[in-house]
């Protein structure tokens, strides 16, 4: 299997007025094509930063980031990934449909093909009735779903998602999780998924990357099941109630607590 993302020896230091902030040190991570990898860790441990390096929105201070065998910059220019940010980032003067159409428009997709694709995507995220609304007429969760539809617009081989379900209620969240599992299985896209929720990471992922802060580094990589294909097949609603699911939640929680005394959960982590 080919590799979607290959990160070798990456450091990232931000120069700020109050001195250098070491956001990431010594990151090595490989994400196979079609693999679902979650990044989890306390607030400020560098999850967003790592994702931005993969997206070439920032450059590493040291080390290399490769996406589908190319440099991160080339991969960005070749539009190898779709991205959904921590905040939805919709353009307020565009309708929901026009927001989803944005990447297609920028990359010269013909107008007829564009509207078919947009209708398809809005159907998928359950917003077909809201195509002509403006973002400020939508709830936070609905805006986030528009942003996800936009990220999927060009059927990317790699999806980068930074806490995309953070603003959703529990029910919508579980539905979106199942949809995401289905979409990533259907399209065979690799996913790098940032989350604060242990059960979410366990439910979705082939592997969970547990990070720790100051300086941000990878604490442990917890494999969820054996073999990606088997894992995808097994990720159904029933999984949420199985004993194996709780075992894996415990495994991730223990990895997170390594080094931290028991009982003091790292800040910013939920057990949802």
């Amino acid at each position: 299997m080919s590799t979607a993302v290959e990160i070798i020896g990456v450091d990232k230091t931000f120069d700020t007025r109050s001195g250098a902030v070491q956001a990431l040190t010594g990151i090595d991570l490989t994400v196979e094509a079609g693999e679902f990898v979650s990044l989890i860790g306390p607030s400020g441990c560098g999850k967003s930063t790592l994702m931005r390096l993969i997206a070439d929105l920032d450059e590493p201070t040291a080390g290399t980031v490769e996406v589908f065998g190319k440099g991160a910059r080339q991969a960005r220019l070749d539009q190898e990934y779709g991205i959904a940010f921590q905040s939805a980032g919709l353009l307020p003067w565009r309708t929901v449909a026009a927001n989803v159409a944005l990447p297609l428009e920028l990359h010269g997709v013909a107008s007829a093909a564009r509207s078919t694709r947009v209708a398809e995507l809005l159907d998928m995220v359950g917003l077909a009735d809201f195509a002509d609304r403006y973002p400020d007429q939508l709830s936070g969760g609905m805006q986030q779903r528009v942003a996800i539809a936009r990220a999927l617009a060009e059927q990317p081989r790699l999806l980068l998602m930074d806490e995309p379900f953070g603003a959703l209620d529990e029910m919508t969240r579980e539905k979106m999780q199942s949809d995401l599992v289905r979409i990533s299985a259907e399209t065979g896209a690799a996913v790098v998924f940032v989350t604060h929720s242990i059960p979410e990471a366990v439910f979705l992922s082939d592997r969970v990357v547990v990070m720790s802060p100051r300086p941000g580094r990878i604490q442990e990589i917890v494999p969820m099941r054996l073999g990606a294909d088997a894992a995808r097949a097994a990720r159904t609603e029933e999984l949420r109630e199985e004993r194996a699911f709780f075992d894996m939640v415990t495994a991730v929680r223990e990895a997170l607590h390594q080094g931290a005394p028991v009982g003091t959960a790292p800040r910013g982590l939920e057990n949802r």
């Binding site: 929105l57 960005r76 905040s87 980032g89 353009l91 307020p92």
Partner: protein, 268 residues
């Protein structure tokens, strides 16, 4: 009591109220004014009565109309040119820091130059039979608010939107069209609305300092000089109407183009 009634008004009643209230105030003021002149006997020389002003307005209707068109077109040309230059220069200043730093002192000094200082100079520079000086003054007056507001608008793009454009590998032209211009648009329109009133005022005031006759400003000063005060007032009324027309048209334009922008962006 009054507040309680006001808060309970429906949207329709409120609209009616917003139109009726100023009209009522106007009628009352005019009534008191007329009363002062005719009953109390304030001299016509000090204060012409509304009735005599209306009389003059009707009698000189044709000259008022042509004067309004002349002054109005000077103001309009100035507004358009000033706005275009303002927007173009703001785009350059937003793009290149050096342009911003070079233009800052120029704009600051333009903003404080009084029209009265510039008008005589431009009038004598471009001769007694040219409207150019007036148009140039209106353009200068319009340029400043459009430039300042537009430049501010160009700087309002948010980090997540810029990241998004970068992630899409959008060209700089695409970024300008799909992100920077729409973000700046409400600011730009506000600048133009402010400039519209300034353009009329400057075009009018510039006429006080010589140049060809026939505009509202020129006629106000000739009427006043020949002690035809009621007629001078009639021209003043026309000037107010012209200024209001410019303001309302630009306000309408702003409303129309900004219907779907979020509240926070609509009123910068």
């Amino acid at each position: 009591m009054a507040i309680a009634t006001a808060t309970r008004m429906g949207p329709k009643t409120e609209t009616t109220f917003r139109i009726v209230a100023p009209v009522a105030v106007g009628v009352i003021v005019l009534g008191v004014w007329q009363f002062l002149v005719t009953v109390v006997g304030v001299s016509d020389y000090l204060l012409p009565s509304p009735a005599s002003i209306i009389e003059e307005f009707i009698q000189f209707w044709e000259s008022i109309l042509s004067a309004s068109i002349l002054t109005g077109s000077n103001a309009l040309i100035g507004l358009i040119v000033g706005s275009l230059v303002g927007i173009a220069l703001a785009a350059l200043a937003a793009r290149w820091r050096a342009v911003d730093q070079m233009s800052a002192p120029v704009v600051a000094s333009l903003a404080v130059i009084p029209i009265v200082a510039l008008a005589p100079v431009l009038n004598s520079m471009y001769g007694a039979d040219s409207q150019f000086g007036r148009q140039a003054i209106a353009a200068l007056a319009s340029f400043v608010p459009v430039f300042i507001n537009t430049l501010r608008g160009f700087r309002q793009t948010t980090l997540v939107h810029r990241d998004l454009m970068k992630a899409y590998a959008a060209s700089s032209g695409q970024v300008l069209r799909t992100l920077t211009l729409p973000t700046a648009r409400p600011f730009m329109l506000t600048g133009i609305r402010i400039a519209s009133s300034l353009a009329v005022i400057s075009a009018l005031v510039a006429e006080y300092f010589g140049g060809p006759r026939g505009g509202l400003g020129g006629l106000i000063s000739t009427s006043a000089a020949s002690s035809a005060y009621a007629r001078a007032w009639a021209y003043v009324v026309a000037s107010i109407a012209l200024g209001l027309l410019f303001y309302l048209v630009t306000l309408g334009l702003e409303r129309m183009l900004q219907r779907h922008a979020p509240q926070a962006q609509r009123r910068p």
